[in-house]
Subunit: 390 residues, 2 copies
């Protein structure tokens, strides 16, 4: 008796804390494992509703070797006799919610109170239970939806399930169903969020690439700058014990993608000029960080990313533009993009000069550490090169 | 006795279905209202943990007039004696989880088993309870976090809470706490999703506007086409009994914003030419829908929106471009944008012609219904104009 109460308490406790487990698979495995271990049944499983396909899948099944049902084997559609029986709940004489026990069904089959039609239905349900080697099935509902069916094999001590045990399982199954439904909703929302994030990044990439295509000398520049910037940041973390949160990476990602967005405001005649720019043209070209800021300014959520766009042409010694910021005044996000951007520009052919080799460009960045570039960032970049990551 | 069991069942049932209520406020109001009504206490409330500010706020309070605590009044920081007492759970002699009853605390204060230090702590806790007019407090935890405190006033019949009642509230409070925590997590995720969606739309708007700025004659064109397209669709719903899901609106929104994105591939000399285009130039200009498709193609999630970009220059009679699609072959999303786009172009000054008045442009669209335009779409547009919505 003591032991019985014990497992109930444990399971109740578990079913409660399950609410905050938001991975359905983990949840179901947890509960089925507990039932098998604590209640000492030969095997147990859960048929879970797959809403999209409107089918019930044996999502997890645990138990003794041989008796365990192979998962994936059991997949019951809405027209399966057992599923439609539990879904319709029409015949209160055959099934009055709660637990459905094989032995009781068999008894009813041999009694005289049921009609031929009722017996036919019952036979089909029992046959499905035989396939699953189920001694009892406990359907669980949310509102009118059948969310799943808990399937129980024999008790190991050979005894029948007592009514209070079955009642307990009914309560438990309803908790589990609710927790699973909740977890599914959570998962769906998280997946949606993930999709939106990808959509946002991919659209930004596509539009940035389209804008870049106007500048005929910089094919692939944006993608390379983005990769190098992210790598530099990881290096800053591992070598310089700096820590950056997820947000920083996200802002850096966006800022790298959009750092040259302002070039859309520069006439094609300047962008594509075959030769060095004259003073007026150079001045116009130098407006691109601020043009970029103007474009992105209305987007409040991009506030931090905009710093990277605005200041990626500042220099550590204060000789850059647009504001001539110095040293620590320059936001780190901009200092990172500055190194990546300069390296990529140096290693790309331009109409009026040949590209440097990687080695030459890296040496130039080394030389400019503390002058043009933030020394920590420049150092991390050089280490990346030494690691063959660039 | 019967009545007691009755309210427990009801509350248990409610606390279970609460798991799937994902608005914390609704949830808390529901449960507190139930407690006040079913258990017949003078007032009840919940102090809920605000994780960001690490403070406990009296989120809801229900009860008899006068006895009800004004919400917002009670806001207890982590260093509040009662809160830190429930959070630390250090002195098992004073508090052993479960319910904390004012009267029992008072008794302990007068006993000789407690040290002076213990009594000082206890006094401060009891004083906090007096402020809240609380007969019993039931803290609830998830793992080691104090999620909230259920506050109970006097029972209306003047009796004390029995131990089994208190035990029941402890279990209930834990359910509620878990459901609230779950709802908070859900809300946070939903808010994140909303933020991402806005970020995506706003960034797309900004980049589309930047690209549009290259075409010096079309200032504000994209925004106007987007608004008109969405209005047409709402009109199609209300007048023509068509139904569109949220996805359609989202795709239309994106497609309208990006319909001219391909113009980024057209040289400025053509875009900004002061006068009609010659044949070569016109041909180049007509490439813009397919250039747009090329830009957006890599983004799988935009598949449906791309149809609007690709086909917004098709004509109902088959005389449009790029594919010369006819009638129902033209995706509706493109037919909608086509009307909005043409109307806006007609009502805007171009270097080689003056803008038409709205009336003239609407008449032109009427005339072209069934020729250039899908008749249902054109009709809806005309109705919008008659409603003064354009």
């Amino acid at each position: 008796m003591y032991k019985k109460i014990d497992y109930k308490k444990e399971l109740e406790q578990a079913s409660k804390s399950m609410i905050l487990v938001h991975e359905p698979e983990t949840l179901i495995k947890m509960i089925v494992r507990m039932i098998v271990n604590k209640v000492q049944v030969s095997h147990a499983g859960i048929l879970l509703h797959d809403f999209e396909k409107d089918t019930y899948v044996l999502t997890v099944s645990k138990g003794d070797k041989g008796l365990k049902i192979p998962t994936g084997f059991a997949r019951m559609d809405a027209d399966n006799p057992m599923i439609s029986f539990f879904r319709q709940r029409q015949d209160k004489q055959l099934f009055d919610d709660g637990a459905f026990v094989y032995e009781q069904g068999e008894k009813a089959l041999n009694s005289k109170i049921l009609s031929k039609n009722q017996k036919d239905v019952l036979k089909k349900v029992l046959y499905q239970m035989e396939i699953l080697d189920a001694v009892a099935c406990i359907p669980s509902y949310f509102r009118n939806d059948l969310l799943g069916v808990l399937i129980l094999g024999n008790k190991k001590n050979g005894k029948k399930f007592a009514q209070d045990e079955l009642d307990f399982f009914v309560a438990l199954a309803s908790d589990v169903a609710m927790a699973i439904r909740n977890a599914q909703l959570f998962e769906a929302l998280a997946a949606e969020l993930d999709k939106k994030q990808r959509l946002f990044i991919h659209t930004t990439i596509a539009l940035a690439a389209a804008i870049e295509a106007k500048d005929r000398y910089t094919h692939g520049h944006t993608a390379r700058v983005t990769n190098i910037s992210l790598e530099i940041t990881r290096k800053l973390e591992s070598r310089h014990k700096l820590t950056f949160d997820e947000k920083f990476f996200e802002h850096l990602h966006i800022a790298s993608l959009l750092h040259d967005i302002g070039k859309i405001g520069i006439p094609e005649s300047i962008l594509n000029k075959e030769g060095p720019l004259n003073e007026t043209e150079a001045k116009r070209m130098q407006e691109h960080p601020l043009v970029g800021v103007n474009i992105l300014q209305p987007i409040k959520e991009l506030e931090d990313a905009i710093l990277g766009v605005k200041y990626h042409h500042e220099k550590y010694d204060g000789s850059g533009y647009p504001e001539g910021l110095k040293g620590a005044q320059i936001p780190l996000i901009a200092s990172i993009i500055a190194v990546a951007d300069t390296f990529d520009a140096m290693t790309t052919d331009r109409p009026y000069r040949k590209a440097l080799t990687k080695e030459e460009a890296v040496n130039e960045i080394k030389k400019q550490s503390g002058k043009q570039f933030n020394p920590q960032v420049a150092e991390s970049f050089v280490e990346l090169f030494q690691d063959n990551k660039i």
